[in-house]
Point group: D3
Chain length 271, copies 6
């Protein structure tokens, strides 16, 4: 594994041409700027289910749900811009696992974490693999220590117990004791567009993950999405209470004209 | 095998001919009467594992276990007659998702909930789909409010956290943020016989679901099943205690003649 | 979406209430009339690939391809209205295989063939099952003898060699030596709407199947589809020849303005 | 590769020729001796993740992770020598379920439990089957009563709630209400080499299972594995704390020369 | 269920204790005698479909179809006693691929072929593996040269073209260029009972494979099966001809009393 | 969709930044030079099976077999350098199917064919998709016309019959009538490294595909591989003939010292 550095013409962090397939560090530059944290928090508040529906309405995104990664700690919600990491199948003439790398700085998945800032979400296309543990406890302790929001993987982690005890948000296909290159995959590229759980994800997309699952909000749609979904929610809390108390669906969902006065009364009591 | 014609006894809303496939409301009438609630509770007490075995013995039902739906809250047991709901793959000339229905009363899955009474279980053939959320929180708040026991789906729900917080029993393949017609399926028929998790379910079958999974008891077999399984259980509690304390399997399970006097002694101490 | 009640127009044999689940013959009436055979032949000429694209354009049917059934004799094309047959998982309290039926007229899958006329295609929802052979050689000899076009199954046939030797068109998931109720499924309903290979099929839909696979054309769309697709094809034969001879894609597909005079010349030579 | 013949050393009950396939009790003799319990406990302490990595390093075992069985109670760890149990698909001329055995001593899976001693782990090749419950509560109450560590199954258990309440460690593919021979498999052999979750397991292998999953340590490698892995861990606790507090990965993992003095300081404070 | 001990009757090479897992040659002795070749040929004539049905009728074998292996040359039928070969997942402490064996006689799959006689069928449990080619052209040239009937694999072959050109019958899951131990499996045992395509197969079972698929006939049932199936077939050829000519299914299948005189007439013309 | 073309400012090899995800043409430059055609033909002669084994021996490439694509015309062999084409899941804010592109030059998969030269093989990562037909007859008529060797797809083609009639080599997962963007994927990048059938493929790798399947030879290993495999084959033809004639495997494969004189004799007769 040679560390190619044609820095003279490129500037770090960089992506070197991929067609003369010498082993190299495929690291795209960081995206220009982080989204406004208040907006990200507002998106977390809305939740994946409403976002999924709104993305269909405002952008025609039929299905933004990543199928595969599941919450490892029900009740948790995370949000933040995506740092992406792509694994590929190992091909031994190109990639060789020599003592799990002699130079640890050649471990490409480290560099995804180096790029990450507080509030970021690392999204990993691990090809649905169930037998390689993409990250272990030390890597994710570092990521947690620098304020990372969480990790979404179409694959697995190892050292799962210690990682979950830190409180870091993990959405994965499961756990495995194996390490990241123990079986058939290896980290290939950082911050390239990836497919995770059957969805296209760009670096900088805003990820929101909760019990329902993970969605990626295109960065440019975040504001519009917030505007629209705030219109919705107003009477829903009222209706939910009435329904749980035995009210009829026809009357309360959606809010019928008959029930509107009742709702207006209720609203006053809420203030 | 008889050729039945009971059309005279059916009253609308009802299932009508499906061959001139205009879009229509396929809703079969409610089944004649609910089972005795005490019997249902007794079946819940027995549990899915004993029911599965007894259904094989008394009715030759080799495998009554629905493979796919899993308990979303371990420790819970539900029981009740089945209201069935069948989804089909979307075909756009027949079914079109116009703004998620302009007239919400055309949402067929609402009608499954309208039909449901306190103590009922809604069973959904969602075709194993992992990307459409059959019900969301508002729908199931209504169902919970009217006393529904739970929902069994060979598919997913959305708004999972809020739904599970109500305490409603859910057995599903998982969660998704997508809504019920967001990807490839739509509600096609209420109260028709369905296949759920690879098992045939008729409206009115008594559903019992616990940590082990979901079984459907044919309504006419409920009484017989109760009779037989009460015979079993008597010495089992005794044997369980002895086994947990280190007793030998040969002596206590099934109860051997040698252990019977010991059991008789124990029984006296229980009274 | 209308609430239809056309019970007055139905005649036995017919589908009746299924909720009092005595074993019964679930046979819906035949659909009113066969499509014009010339139109069906024109649709066969167009082929599944063009039909699939046109159904998207004229009716918004995103995906009309049945995934699962494959041609058992490459080079063959069939077309005709669908007779549908639905299998369900066996539940032994409801359905029992007594000596493979004592009264063969109770074999429901026979009745699908009885209903079939010359030019029809039998479409079977066998639930993707790979271990029950829906039809054997005698059944399909009869169907072939009466002029049947072919059979499409999301499942298997048995006696495959003798069946294929007759020249009958078969699209299936494969072959099995088992007979139709040998493992886990049984014939449940004739001429009800079914799901085959993940697509909704109504009785009377026009089926077209070739090497590319099987599509169902809604009967009412057949004429429109023919009109539109005839517009397309005119210059395609010319372009194909030029491309195979080394012509450039930009020039010949789609036909560029530069190549149009050349095409006009060629057209004259074809007359 | 040697041609072994140690028949003289075998004592009944034992595995005999299987080629004249009369139904018989296929039970291999117990393995010669249990591993030192202190060593097993040390292996549990190390955990599946480290073991998996070390097995690759010291023995070239690329992937020792059993894919399929998952922890049914996160936070638990078990370890012990493997008693193996192999299921096979039922073939009715050979195996018949007559009233679930008239003579319970013919239930082969009992004998796996009879062989088990305190501290053992029963490992079951249930062929990935999701519809037969290999063990129920009475069997496992007995196993728990005699001090069994846990059960690993590439398949399911029934009576799951009562079993998990005892605290017995279970790694399975899930739960089912069905009993062990209700659908398609039956117990075929005790203490033969098996494939469980895609891994070869010999009787007497030391099983370690935790949240990350299950691994089998060849008995002869246990000591070497313990020696090597104790070398590793020393500075890891220090590094983990620093990383969680925001330290940089390059400095602390692996421990850099720059950070070593800091570590030495820290170590003094730990004593 | 008897506890058999026929150790006295076994002669080496034989299966010995497997619990002290030194690498060894696990080769069970050949089965006592080959079946009468005329009977095997008669079973081939009957075909897999009829055998599958008859095995259910006479022996209660619900499903004798091996799911997975498919005919690689439609139109071919083979039959013969089974030599079995079992693969297991590689575990590197036990099995190591040293230069593809330095001593080729240690290649266990060779020994399956050594045992084979003219007319035998080698049946391989390759665990459904799609990336290891169990046999290549040289091995199967030898098997073909000694008169082998064919090979059935729940796995793949390599050098497929040259193998199929010899005319040897192959039923497999497909082809691969990889050799037999290139990925994750290795040959573990010869002439032990195996699971192939989900069916239990004993050495000496009579295998019949045709376009419909592969079945295993227990050796002791061969004669009975032949007797019964000869009763069937007599009028079937007559009926098939009539059906293909447009005769009605009710009249000709099964042969009705009305059609019997016509059949008797036809029979005379056949002599 | 904007057609970005900044070729004037970029120099080959180039890749346009993908992180500001405007829709763009992701086309890497062609690789520097084609391999010597004689060497490619020699590799075709050797075949995929030998190449797979040799790649393991000379480069440690454990498994070079692409699992998924199968030969659509048994008996054919192709070889040539890889032009790669990668599909990604559709995300509607980024990619919209407007009338199947108004400007056909924006169809990215065309550009893969534009880049291709006589003797090239187009390798497509279609993500295993079974419902989008990557190429149709017109596209591949052009590719055939310019001398293309063939197409390897982890996905499907449409217009399969007409394509196969041209004689172009196709290795695919199957056929579909749908066009390339009809369901869930779209062409994302040309000549980037891809994963096809679970194997890493670089542009310029030498593809060899025959009945056994598809392998990719790293360009730099082609010469070495040819040298080594020519050593092998010499006595194999002799041994194959002897084995087919009934010779013993031990004598002829590998060639034993005893058989060497016989081989030397035979060799003389061959000259």
């Amino acid at each position: 594994m040679k560390l190619l550095n044609k820095l003279g013409t490129l500037k770090p962090p960089f992506r070197i041409s991929t067609i003369f397939h010498t082993m190299e560090m495929r690291i795209n530059p960081d995206f220009p700027k982080r989204p406004d944290r208040n907006k990200v928090d507002a998106l977390k508040e809305i939740g994946a289910a409403t976002i999924s529906a709104e993305l269909k309405h405002i952008a025609g995104i039929k299905d933004s749900f990543m199928m595969g990664p599941k919450s490892c700690a029900l009740g948790k919600t995370i949000g933040g811009p995506a740092i992406t990491l792509q694994f590929m199948p190992i091909r031994e003439d190109y990639y060789q696992d020599a003592e799990e790398y002699q130079n640890v700085e050649e471990q490409l998945h480290r560099h995804a974490l180096y790029l990450a800032q507080a509030g970021d979400v690392v999204v990993v296309d691990a090809r649905g693999d169930l037998s390689s543990g993409v990250f272990g406890e030390m890597m994710l302790a570092y990521f947690h220590g620098k304020g990372g929001e969480g990790v979404v993987l179409d694959g697995c982690i190892r050292d799962s117990r210690k990682i979950l005890e830190t409180g870091l948000g993990i959405w994965s296909r499961g756990f495995t004791p194996n390490y990241h290159i123990q079986t058939g995959i290896f980290p290939f590229c950082v911050n390239d567009p990836i497919s995770c759980g059957g969805r296209l994800v760009f670096p900088g997309d805003i990820i929101v993950a909760d019990d329902d699952g993970v969605v990626a909000v295109p960065a440019k749609l975040g504001a519009e999405l917030l505007d629209l979904s705030s219109e919705h929610a107003e009477w829903e809390e009222f209706s939910r209470q009435r329904l749980l108390a035995g009210g009829h669906l026809k009357r309360y969902y959606p809010l019928s004209d008959e029930a509107r006065p009742e709702y207006e009364e209720w609203k006053k009591t809420q203030e």
